[in-house]
Symmetry: D2
């Protein structure tokens, strides 16, 4: 997905405020889900499911500025029972501005862990559309690596 940098995104240092890359990443995840046929309101209405970020690590390489046109790429790194590990990149053209490793958990509205729905798991592992999700080169088996392993695994 692509997005424009508006005044609302910038700060007095003349660059995009550091917390706002997390907003951009969340837009990217939402659009990734939409590409796969899922929406937040739909998921909540049908399955009582909410997505909660458990961890987020950001590396800031180069600042984005007012009027920049950015793209957000979202790659699936790993699916465990109740979590998705994603690698997200915020770019300006070919230039990487920020990289995020995000661990998202499926939870009930009260915050209890819930299994990733099978339909979402299938859609993530075998995305058939031309959406913005870019899976790792080979499809990941749904339970590999086993859940005792390091959760965030970088794509090569």
């Amino acid at each position: 997905m692509s997005l424009r940098v508006y005044y609302e995104d910038t700060d007095a240092a003349g660059i995009v405020y550091y917390a706002n890359y997390l907003k951009f990443a969340e837009r990217g995840r939402t659009e990734m889900l939409r590409t796969l046929g899922f929406s937040h309101t739909g998921a909540r209405a049908e399955t009582g499911l909410v997505f909660a970020v458990r961890r987020c690590a950001v590396e800031y390489h180069t600042p984005a500025r007012l009027d920049d046109l950015l793209t957000v790429e979202t790659r699936l790194v790993r699916i465990a029972g109740a979590t998705l590990a994603l690698r997200q990149c915020v770019c300006r053209g070919d230039e990487l501005l920020a990289a995020l490793d995000v661990l998202v958990a499926c939870v009930s509205p009260e915050g209890r862990p819930r299994r990733v729905p099978a339909s979402l798991r299938d859609a993530l592992i075998n995305p058939s559309g031309s959406g913005s999700i870019k899976p790792a080169p080979a499809p990941l088996p749904p339970e590999y690596p086993p859940s005792g392993h390091s959760i965030v695994q970088k794509t090569p």
Copy 2:
């Protein structure tokens, strides 16, 4: 109430972003309510009541900048059956930076108009504490001016 301007509040023009004065004003209204013994979560739990802004008019006089210490003053202008008209000023010392006229409605969680609770009405008209609400010089009768009149009435 007073607040500090942080990077999050500013934009690439080096000043506080224009929408953020509405955040400051909402903080001021929340603290005004707390001074009177009301909180958003309390009001919702006890009375099922939510406050919704129906209109908001802002005049921007002088921009606030990073590290400024600001104050938000909130004055009651008028109470009607289901609405409160408030005048709010964002100041830096004696200097008026922005003035807001805000019409707040009491609504049910589904958005239907609800009467301002009598306890809040009483507290607003006769604030006994030393809180940040500054009523108009003479206490306002609860139904005056009658509801057909212009809703937002400037304080002199």
Copy 3:
């Protein structure tokens, strides 16, 4: 222009936070300028010009919610020497959610009033493109109504 409502835009009442309509409106103004060939960074670099909001009045009709697809329409109401009066509507389909009257001033980076550049004035009055700006039915003469008149004039 159109935009999606993401979690970042909503609040604990389950609706779009009231200040965020000003962000949406600013995105609309920025895209309107871009449609006419102007960008914030370009204007600042070439003419030293910055746009500052002097007044903003919002009427909130119906709340926007998570996942909504919204449109922002921007209409020119009047050009005076140093200011533009705009009428902006945030809609969901045919439904008007919020209407904003915004007075924007051209200023130097230090905040002093500057005349609206002739090129922008011309582009606003005679937009030839298929952009999102919707001028009032008949082109406005550049100095009409004279500057002593009421500044914000509603489109019929």
Copy 4:
């Protein structure tokens, strides 16, 4: 430092939006600097110095909610030539809600690395006041651990 959760901080899931913990942390860092006698505008005016976040890793434990009163604790983990590694905790009473490891770099306004000013280094290592910065139990030597080592070192 302490802060109240307002509607602006929450989202439609009824909790504080995940990016906003980075705002809270930045408020905490700013107040830590102020406690030590430094402000962003002062540092920029006197030394041409700006602080830029290079990395930020957040663990979200329990969500904060509307009306919560939170505290932000900031601990110095390590000073290298041009960077500060900080550990920040957002708490509600004794409960840890989110923990952040933040690597902040001193840069010129153009983004080039600059040494941490000696005065700030001294103030960070030997804070004499009763401010909110909580140094590691024993004062850290200014260049230890050497810069080849892992930059973010958890406090015990």
